[in-house]
């Protein structure tokens, strides 16, 4: 779908492409992308486009990326297991304490059932599903322009301790510790996990591949309530020096039309244009609406060295989390301090 769209937009050569939104700053910084500020501002519905996409699509006050597809992070729970554990199957947890309590109850079912699952050795998965816990509690991991790491906060320490507590009490399967993302979706899909942070993509995937699994979707909560989400997906970017701006504009007009947004939604992405979102999702699984709302309230961290900091399998983010999630209480402090220093040093080296 994306390849087709891109080919349609730019003829054969990749004059334009869709790019994981998180990498827009680093590509823009390296001078590979075309400044499309004027094109963007000329769109009549510009102020309806996903703010999160535009925030990472902007580099030094110029726009280089426009929203193309969207995926938000949410919390999913297994309704059947909730029922068996004596919990209300229609009510998802809304605070950390509730997650913990529900997970314990489900875990007590035994028989290979675990309360909670997360990919404990996957940087990308945890920026997607773990950071929202911090955001919803009032913390953040970078400052606005990504020049400072703000890892070492009480919110971070609390959130890590929250996960660590569940690991220690055996609510999380042993495989989590070495899961580099290969089990991110599959673990919950087995039907033996009570609660798991996941993404909007999982709704389509579960419905299609595991139609018998009963599950609910809710927001990722903060410590005492509130909620947040990682606004992910792809940005539409244009290679610098292209001469096909006409075709590109025509493509965008179509992509952002109700028809385009509906087509997008049927292919598993959330809409990126707010004023037609509801209509585009009409007739689809209602749980998408929750994911779309999460998207609207979502955030996207901004960094030109995102890959080195967060996604790299050996980067400081996942090293810190893995150490802290699966260590003891005393290990949280040093791990967070080390992570803060390592990330700041990478930012400084690049800058």
């Amino acid at each position: 779908m994306q390849k087709y769209a891109v080919a349609a937009a730019g003829g054969t050569a990749p004059d334009a492409l869709s790019l994981d939104l998180i990498y827009t700053p680093s590509f823009a910084a390296s001078g590979q992308l075309q400044d499309i500020t004027d094109l963007a501002k000329s769109l009549p519905y510009f102020d309806q486009l996903s703010k999160a996409h535009l925030s990472v699509g902007t580099y030094q006050d110029r726009i280089y990326g426009l929203p193309f597809s969207a995926d938000s992070s949410v919390l999913v729970w297994n309704k059947k297991l909730f029922r068996e554990a004596g919990l209300d199957p229609d009510k998802g947890p809304t605070t950390w304490a509730e997650i913990r309590a529900d997970a314990e109850k489900v875990d007590a079912l035994g028989n290979g059932v675990d309360g909670f699952y997360f990919s404990g050795n996957c940087g990308g998965c945890n920026i997607f599903t773990f950071t929202p816990l911090i955001w919803a509690s009032g913390g953040d991991i970078f400052n606005a322009d990504g020049t400072e790491a703000t890892i070492d906060t009480p919110q971070m320490r609390d959130a890590v301790a929250f996960y660590q507590g569940m690991v220690k009490d055996g609510l999380v399967p042993a495989g989590s510790q070495t899961d580099t993302g290969s089990n991110f979706f599959a673990a919950f899909a087995t039907g033996k996990i009570g609660i798991s942070p996941s993404g909007a993509f999982a709704i389509g995937a579960l419905n299609e591949q595991f139609p018998d699994l009963e599950y609910g979707v809710t927001f990722l909560p903060g410590k005492e309530g509130g909620s947040s989400s990682f606004a992910g997906g792809d940005n539409f970017v244009v290679s610098s020096g292209t001469d096909k701006m006409e075709a590109i504009k025509a493509f965008l007009d179509y992509a952002y039309s109700l028809e385009g947004q509906t087509l997008l939604a049927r292919n598993g992405s959330l809409p990126v244009r707010a004023d037609v979102a509801k209509e585009a999702l009409a007739g689809l699984d209602e749980r998408y609406l929750i994911a779309a709302e999460a998207m609207a309230n979502g955030k996207t961290p901004y960094s030109v060295v995102f890959n080195d900091l967060i996604n790299s399998a050996n980067g400081p983010w996942i090293s810190m989390l893995n150490k802290a999630f699966f260590g003891d209480e005393a290990s949280i402090g040093p791990a967070v301090e080390e992570g803060q220093a390592a990330m700041q040093s990478i930012i400084d080296t690049a800058g």
Partner: protein, 299 residues
């Protein structure tokens, strides 16, 4: 080294069949017991993998205890493996092209060079020979970074041709050395006789000498093929377009899983496909393989 070998061969005492004493018999039984246990230990991982690859989808997620398919063998895993990217045969084809091309080009280059070094005299010959052998001292892992740029400049990055050139280069020190020795071992009289019959130059090499050096050629080709078939790091770095992936790199994609789930059955099927050609080639050409290994060892 060689005189010792000769003595060993010449002085081997004739074997006599004696009736074994009970102690010897026990000793022998223990020896074979140990032999069988250790051999089974060495073969077990391979056997587990191949057996497990034929389990149906429902069994593929559980531990291989027992490893064989309980509900009868199934090709599920292979079918799911084929759903990755362009289909597994596409990647097997890439690997085969790279391995065959590496084998062929290595043979061509090293036969020519081996013949040149063995039969001709030219300026700086010693230096050139040592230069080729010395490249074995430079592990290619340490020149990956510039190699990446050089290939990009030549337009050979992300291309199977570029990969083949690298693999052939890596094979050269061993192969040229092998072929030089192989030609050195051919008596000059044969060549003289052919020369008198008017056979010269390339024709002499191809028609008369190459058949005589065939064992060496097979060793060189076998090593080149297997090493190219199995190589991982260079393929991982230099191939960026998924369509060009060789089997090991493609299997790494399978191992990482897609959309947050990993298909162990497909992985078993893929690794089985990667291993089988190596095992068959080795079993068929064992003699040449070991000879190549020990020839390398003796230097």
């Amino acid at each position: 080294m060689s005189p010792v070998l000769d003595t060993a061969a010449g002085a081997a005492p004739p074997r006599r069949r004696r009736r074994l004493r009970p102690a010897d018999r026990l000793h022998r039984a223990l020896f074979h017991l140990a032999g069988i246990i250790v051999a089974v230990l060495f073969l077990a991982p391979i056997a587990f993998l191949v057996l497990a690859a034929f389990r149906p989808a429902a069994e593929a997620v559980s531990p291989p205890l027992p490893p064989w398919p309980k509900a009868g063998p199934s090709l599920d895993s292979f079918a799911r493996l084929d759903a990755f990217g362009e289909g597994i045969w596409h990647y097997a084809g890439n690997s085969l092209i790279v391995a065959v091309a590496t084998g062929a080009l290595t043979i061509l280059v090293s036969v020519l060079a081996g013949y040149g070094f063995s039969r001709y005299r030219f300026p700086l010959k010693g230096v050139v020979f040592v230069l080729i052998l010395a490249t074995i001292m430079v592990p290619f892992q340490s020149i990956l970074t510039p190699l990446f740029l050089v290939l990009a400049k030549l337009g050979l990055q992300n291309s199977l041709v570029g990969l083949v050139l690298i693999y052939v280069t890596l094979q050269l020190p061993f192969s040229v050395f092998m072929m030089r020795n192989a030609f050195d071992a051919i008596p000059k009289e044969i060549e003289e006789a052919a020369r008198i019959d008017g056979v010269r130059g390339l024709k002499l090499l191809l028609r008369v000498l190459a058949p005589l050096a065939l064992p060496g050629i097979v060793s060189v080709g076998l090593f080149a093929f297997l090493n190219a078939w199995n190589e991982f790091l260079a393929a991982l770095v230099f191939l960026t377009d998924e369509r060009n992936y060789t089997l090991p790199v493609m299997m790494m994609v399978v191992r990482q899983g897609r959309f947050g789930s990993i298909d162990w059955g497909a992985l078993q099927a893929g690794v089985t496909l990667m291993m089988i050609p190596c095992l068959l080639l080795f079993l068929a050409l064992q003699r040449f393989y070991i000879r190549g290994l020990t020839a390398g060892a003796v230097k």
